[in-house]
């Protein structure tokens, strides 16, 4: 139950400055309320990983690595592969992070990312089955924060999706009497969907997109909306202590849907730029 | 007579610019709402009053409380006062004024599980409640019987102009020390009297807000004592 404090200390005069700036409809980094920070993506740069991506949103940097192995399926879904998302906030990413097993914040982030990949399935899990009831592929997605400057969820979401996009895994077949045999070929993971994680914070009466760490620390609460193909909402998470009205939620969800196409194209553009 | 009603967190009480919000109430604009499960008393003379029926003691400077020593350190003791923070009793506030200093182990003065009758002299959000024993009537309690009730009902144990407490003392012929933090020490070891006192205090705890309490307690006392 013990947890590290993730909210940075902000001197009072700095708080005042930030709040006053918001009153004038401006943000400390000169962005408009519904503007994302610059997005940079590198991917496939870690050869030992089956898929990888490093995503920067302004100064926030998140790394995602994919490893594929073979395991027994869950008894409840004998003909489906498995996706597991893990996240860690290592001390490298912030003076406030401490070594140790993932805490509640990291676990929450992993589970939010996971939610966006599951319904609708981003990967056809049936295609990851080798022998029903016995052998299936298991996709491990490990998310590592490298630098925390707010809104790690959106960055982590992009990193997970892009890492999956460039995942190639060893193809195995089942041969009678021999068991699993490496075919020597590599299979490319194909994605059926394109979830985008859109995080807003509420600070007083203001709603801001893609908060930096200081904004996140001052926020009453944070709402992550996951939007997928067809303008469908495929996940929501409120985090943070403050309450929010239904009208404000409506505004945030509507804005997230409005932004979907632009964010998606922005990600695709970045991906096509940097191999 | 005043009107009483049961209130819950967020129950609307009154709309009044002049009413200050406090522990048991909070304000949005000029509307005052309850923040506890309790009784709301509206009377012409006393205005708005919220009686809390649950919860721990909330320390107030000036209150006399009955504390239990939980820890000793070099210069002070930690004292449980039935609240959300432990109080501190500094050594300098525990010794008589004449004695400028004290040398030797402080455990000679007070040790863990000792009971003190003390006054809160300081408390804010940065400092825990600070206790003193340097006042007439305060000090270590060395014998007696400890009874605990809901702190919000202590005023009823005392009664208007000490009427209730006076009556109990007289009828049972014993002395009582009453702490604002819901603790009462009966200065007696008479088993019979203690049992009657427990029943009386229980009755006050249960019926604290029912009119005519003093009379009912008197009847109870008289019927028990005559036996």
């Amino acid at each position: 139950m013990d947890n590290i404090k993730y909210n940075v200390l902000i001197p009072k005069i700095r708080q005042k400055f930030i709040l006053n700036t918001l009153k004038e409809n401006k943000r400390i980094d000169n962005r408009s309320f519904y503007e994302y920070r610059a997005l940079k993506i590198r991917y496939g740069h870690l050869p030992n990983a089956d898929g990888s991506a490093e995503v920067s949103l302004g100064n926030t940097i998140v790394l995602a690595g994919v490893k594929v192995d073979i395991t027994n399926p869950f008894p409840s879904e004998p003909d489906k592969g498995i996706i597991i998302v893990n996240a860690e906030f290592p001390p490298v990413a912030s003076p406030d992070f401490e070594p140790g097993p993932p805490d509640e914040n990291a676990i929450e982030l992993a589970r939010i990312v996971d939610r966006g990949l599951r319904k609708p399935e981003i990967v056809d899990l049936s295609s990851l089955c080798i022998v029903p009831g016995q052998k299936v592929y298991r996709i491990w997605i490990d998310i590592y924060a490298l630098n925390h400057d707010g809104n790690m969820i959106d960055a982590a979401g992009i990193a997970a999706v892009v890492a999956l996009m460039n995942t190639k895994y060893k193809k195995f077949t089942f041969v009678q009497d021999k068991g699993l045999v490496d075919t020597g070929e590599k299979a490319q993971l194909t994605l059926k969907n394109f979830p985008v994680y859109v995080t807003h914070v509420k600070i007083g009466d203001h709603i801001l997109l893609d908060p930096v760490l200081e904004e996140e620390s001052l926020a009453d609460c944070k709402i992550t909306t996951i939007v997928s193909e067809g303008n469908l909402i495929t996940g929501i998470q409120k985090s943070g202590v403050g309450g929010i009205s239904l009208d404000e939620l409506e505004k945030i969800m509507q804005n997230s849907i409005n932004l979907y196409q632009t964010i998606k194209e922005n990600i695709q553009k970045e991906v096509s730029k940097n191999g | 007579m005043s009107k009483r009603e049961i209130i819950l967190p967020s129950s609307f009480l009154v709309s009044d610019e002049n009413v200050q919000s406090n522990l048991a109430t909070y304000k949005i604009g000029s509307n005052v709402y309850s923040s506890v499960v309790g009784l709301f008393e509206r009377s012409e003379d006393s205005g708005v009053r919220v009686v809390t029926l649950r919860g721990k003691y909330y320390p107030q400077v000036g209150d006399e409380v009955i504390g239990i020593i939980t820890k000793d350190s070099i210069f002070s003791w930690s004292v449980d006062i039935n609240s959300f923070v432990e109080a501190i009793l500094p050594v300098s506030y525990a010794i008589k004024k004449k004695r400028r200093s004290f040398s030797g182990s402080i455990t000679k003065l007070l040790t863990i599980n000792d009971i003190v009758y003390a006054q809160i002299v300081d408390f804010d959000r940065f400092n825990p409640p600070i206790l003193t024993l340097r006042k007439k009537g305060l000090g270590k309690i060395t014998s007696g019987y400890l009874i605990t009730i809901t702190p919000g009902k202590i005023p009823r144990v005392i009664g208007k102009n000490h009427s209730m407490i006076k009556m109990i003392k007289e009828k049972l012929d014993l002395n009582l020390i009453v702490g604002k933090n819901g603790r009462i020490v009966a200065l007696t070891n008479d088993f019979q009297k203690i049992k009657i006192l427990e029943e009386v205090i229980q009755k006050i705890d249960n019926e604290a807000h029912v009119p005519g309490l003093t009379d009912r307690v008197k009847n109870l006392l008289e019927s028990k004592i005559s036996k």
């Binding site: 709402i223 909402i233 | 819950l8 919860g55 807000h209």
Partner: protein, 237 residues
Amino acid sequence: MSEYKRVDGRAYDEIRPVKAEVRVLKNADGSAIFELGNTKVIAAVYGPRELHSKHMASSYESLVRVRYHMVPFSTKDRKSQPFTRREIEISKVLKEALSASIRRELFPRSTIDIYIEVLNADGSTRVASLNAASLALADAGVFMYDLIAAVSVGKINGQLVVDLNEYEDQNSDSDIPIAFMPSLNKVVLLQMDGTMSLEEIRQALKMAKNAADKIYQVEKDCLKGSLESVLKVYGLL
């Protein structure tokens, strides 16, 4: 809309029978049992009390710690893992929702510890937990802004339903646990899992609000009842 009929025969906007009781554990400063049909949850509040870990204490507000836990025999298959990632995440969002309802600034340097045990799980355990914990807080006399009323709403076979049971939880296309401070018109917990259009979410939230209002009423009656039993005897009420 399709022909989904609820397994337990309820109307789509009908919550299961609700039972609430406070003062159920003597040791705790406040406690409550909350039941939604076969979902049974018990919550205990200890505190506000001295926080012995000084580096975690704040001079401005009390710490709130929440542990949501399912007992091993609460589920169909025995739950063998001691503390799952799911439980850690739920503990976090419950903590945040409950914190929003507490006037924490009145209890500097202290902690309020809330322990929740799911005794029998039949869907909607996290919202039942929130209701139980909020009642336990009120029972403990903790100064708070409002009670929390929480409920789940979901979509199954294209049909929106409130208060999902285990079967509906397992078979739904999407579900939303949501919690309100009804008198203050604030949402303090919101999660969504699954797929929905914005219009469906709008309708779902409306259904959830109506159901939460009913739960809110049960909570208020429960707390009043806990006092009335004492006070009625003496002709006060």
